[in-house]
């Protein structure tokens, strides 16, 4: 037996709704009108909320936070493809997805105001808190999927998000490997927004696509236009269906762009050209989606006006609610070291409260 080819692979790309809002009807996914409108609602809400959060941060009313503008399709469309019984395992840039999952904007603001209370979301019991250690969340996503099957939930799927930069971490590799070996129902959504802070994709990896990384695990994958809600939804829905059917995990590379700063602490003009940003502005996912909805007669200017007003009001009342909050229990942190307080923690809590009194006395 001489030299011969033993395996062949390919990577597919999917786009349905193009930059000009033209749709490829053969590929159009089935989405109910209600769901289409829900999706649009949350994409717009995400964008407006994002804008508001950044403003609040600039005014010193919130701490450092990440910007999401441009990635709304890439974040919200996958979220539409799962249901409440499924798990949502995010990184930190999935604002719109979290809102769709039922988290309130008040919680988001609490978190970015430095309170763990923002990560306590009993109304969304299957949405995990944001994860900052890059790619580490993918591993617990895989474990969650294993647990759901083991506990007899034959229907549950885990949706897990990760960035392009984070694919360089060992945990990314270990998670995809475990998922494929265990054949667990996880759908990995890669937000390929072209940058990891200042580092562009080509310094991050030598491969032209992230989708091809799934080949290392014989895992289905696809690259999609991440600013095209229809493509992102369709690819995710197919992957979710496979996962539910017991056919294991998938990787979706969603090609998108972070239009603003990495976080409010970042200055993107240091590492990228305005022209690049402008190019991507033309591919905006919301503009494109709106055109599609309008053409399908699901949308019009008066609906838009009402939506804008509703969202402005919602954000406004959330900010008010958030700003009215006070009275955060100072020693709360001692409550969450262990289920049962240890002696040392008990002593330290007492010392803490004693010192607090002292500090207050000292002004």
């Amino acid at each position: 037996m001489p030299q011969k080819t033993i395996k062949e692979f390919s990577v597919e790309y999917l786009q349905i709704l193009d930059e000009n809002g033209k749709v490829d009807n053969k590929l159009e996914p089935e989405i109910s009108d209600d769901d289409l409108l829900k999706l649009y609602h949350y994409m717009v809400l995400s964008r407006e909320a994002d804008t508001k959060l950044i403003k609040l941060q600039r005014q010193g009313r919130l701490g450092t936070l990440p910007a999401c503008m441009g990635q709304e399709a890439s974040i919200c469309a996958p979220t539409l493809a799962i249901n409440d019984k499924d798990w949502f395992v995010g990184s930190y840039r999935e604002l719109g997805g979290r809102l769709m999952r039922g988290e309130s904007l008040v919680k988001t603001m609490l978190l970015y105001n430095g309170y763990e209370e923002g990560s306590y979301n009993p109304d969304s019991p299957r949405t995990l808190p944001i994860s900052v250690v890059l790619a580490s969340q993918l591993l617990y996503a895989v474990g969650l999927a294993y647990a759901s099957r083991q506990r007899g939930e034959t229907d549950t799927v885990v949706l897990a998000f990760v960035g392009d930069g984070a694919t360089s971490e060992g945990d990314f590799h270990e998670a995809l490997n475990f998922a494929s070996v265990w054949k667990v129902p996880v759908v990995f959504i890669n937000q390929n927004n072209q940058y990891a802070i200042s580092t562009p994709r080509h310094k991050q990896m030598n491969s032209e696509t992230i989708a091809q990384k799934a080949i290392a695990y014989d895992m289905p994958s696809i690259q999609v236009d991440g600013n095209d809600v229809l493509a992102v939804y369709k690819a995710t829905k197919e992957a979710v269906d496979r996962a539910r059917a017991g056919e294991g995990p998938s990787l979706i590379e969603s090609v998108t762009y972070r239009m603003l700063m990495h976080t409010t602490a970042d200055d993107p003009t240091r590492y990228r050209e305005d022209a690049e940003v402008e190019g991507w502005a033309k591919k905006d996912p919301i503009t494109r989606f709106k055109k599609y909805l309008t053409e399908r007669k699901l949308w019009n200017a008066s609906k838009q006006k009402k939506l804008d007003a509703d969202i402005a009001a919602e954000i406004d009342s959330s900010v008010k609610e958030f700003e009215a909050m006070s009275d955060f229990k100072p020693d709360a942190h001692f409550d969450y070291v262990f289920a049962e307080e240890s002696e040392l923690i008990k002593e330290q809590r007492a010392e803490f409260l004693e010192n607090l009194k002292g500090d207050a006395d000292n002004g």
Binding site: S119, L128, P129, S136, G143, Y146, F178, E343
Partner: protein, 326 residues
């Protein structure tokens, strides 16, 4: 009541917990078909099947990371790190997620996870197979660190660890796995994590040790007591973190003297924390400096020299003697 060695006691504890609770599962490198490289998990696969006894891919972060997810999702994974020396591959997972999930989510998500790992020297092993670095774990909030010394307490404490609603690092002194047998009651009084054991009372000096070193220490104590009229209070620490500062301090208040014997490196080692607790609670009772008998601050040598670098009985004896004579 049966006589067994520590490996058998650990194995029995795993059997009992898996029988008693469907959500308990065991996972790690070579734990299923092979029964673990030390045979701690032998027989589990046959009894509980490959969904609850999992030969994982070879990746420690993968093991602890996925186990964290399983624990969040309602299971109780008992993971094995084949040797503690390879557990550092998962350190970011433990520090970053498992140890923090309760605090991060205000109790919404919790991680009842056990990480078993053989540790320590004296078994003529390759590099990375002989270290005692319990401090890395003990300095991390949100996790408990337990080190048994005997079959009976290994059995009881591992069961307590599996039942614990928080992450527990269960470090097994591999030198004691098969070196002796002890009585293990199949249904003993449960042991509580967080308590040191006063193995014998005494009034002249407090001697504290844990893990494999506990046995050398105990022998020296017995020899010294046979040879002289020194009355020694001997403590087996058992839980490294959170440390039982009260029991330590009460003992030292009584004896006024203390020697700590550990396999860990000296600098920033557990003995320093013990000394700090004594400082906080019993300083004025001290009649001599607390002596630290430890591994040195060199990389742990390969086995050709390891016995020279591990605390020797001579070294322990000398430390006790000097502290008494101070």
């Amino acid at each position: 009541m049966a006589k067994m060695n520590m490996i058998q006691a650990i194995n029995l504890a795993l059997h009992r917990e898996m029988e008693g609770d469907d959500s308990v599962l065991v996972m790690g490198e070579d734990v299923a078909v092979n029964g673990g490289v030390f045979r701690a998990t032998e027989g589990l696969l046959e009894k509980f099947g490959d969904k609850r006894v999992i030969d994982t891919p070879l990746a420690e972060a993968g093991i602890v990371g996925t186990a964290t997810g399983m624990a969040i999702g309602g299971l109780k994974p008992v993971t094995e790190m084949q040797f503690s020396g390879f557990s550092y591959n998962m350190f970011h997972q433990l520090e970053g997620n498992a140890s923090r999930m309760r605090a991060r989510s205000r109790g919404q998500f919790t991680v009842p996870l056990v990480i078993r790992m053989p540790f320590g020297g004296g078994v003529r092993a390759l590099e990375h197979h002989s270290e005692s670095k319990e401090v890395y774990y003990a300095h991390t909030p949100g996790i408990k660190v337990v080190i048994p010394s005997r079959p009976a307490n290994a059995f009881a404490l591992l069961r307590a660890a599996i039942q614990d609603p928080d992450p527990v690092i269960f470090m097994e002194p591999k030198r004691s796995y098969r070196s002796f047998k002890g009585d293990v009651a199949d249904n003993p009084e449960p042991m509580q994590i967080g308590k040191a054991e006063i193995v014998q009372g005494g009034k002249d000096i407090t001697v504290i040790s844990w893990g494999a070193m506990f046995h050398d220490t105990q022998q020296v104590v017995e020899e010294l007591q046979a040879d002289s009229d020194i009355s020694i209070e001997l403590l087996d620490l058992l839980t490294i973190s959170p440390m039982d500062a009260v029991t330590i301090a009460e003992s030292v208040k009584k004896t006024g003297r203390c020697v700590v014997v550990q396999e860990a490196h000296r600098s920033f080692g557990p003995a320093s924390e013990i000394i700090a607790h004594i400082n906080d609670r019993a300083l004025m009772y001290l009649e001599a400096p607390v002596k630290r008998v430890t591994m040195y601050d060199t990389t742990v040598p390969l086995f050709g020299r390891e016995l020279l670098y591990l605390p020797s009985k001579g070294h322990i004896r000398k430390a006790i003697q000097e502290t008494i004579d101070f």
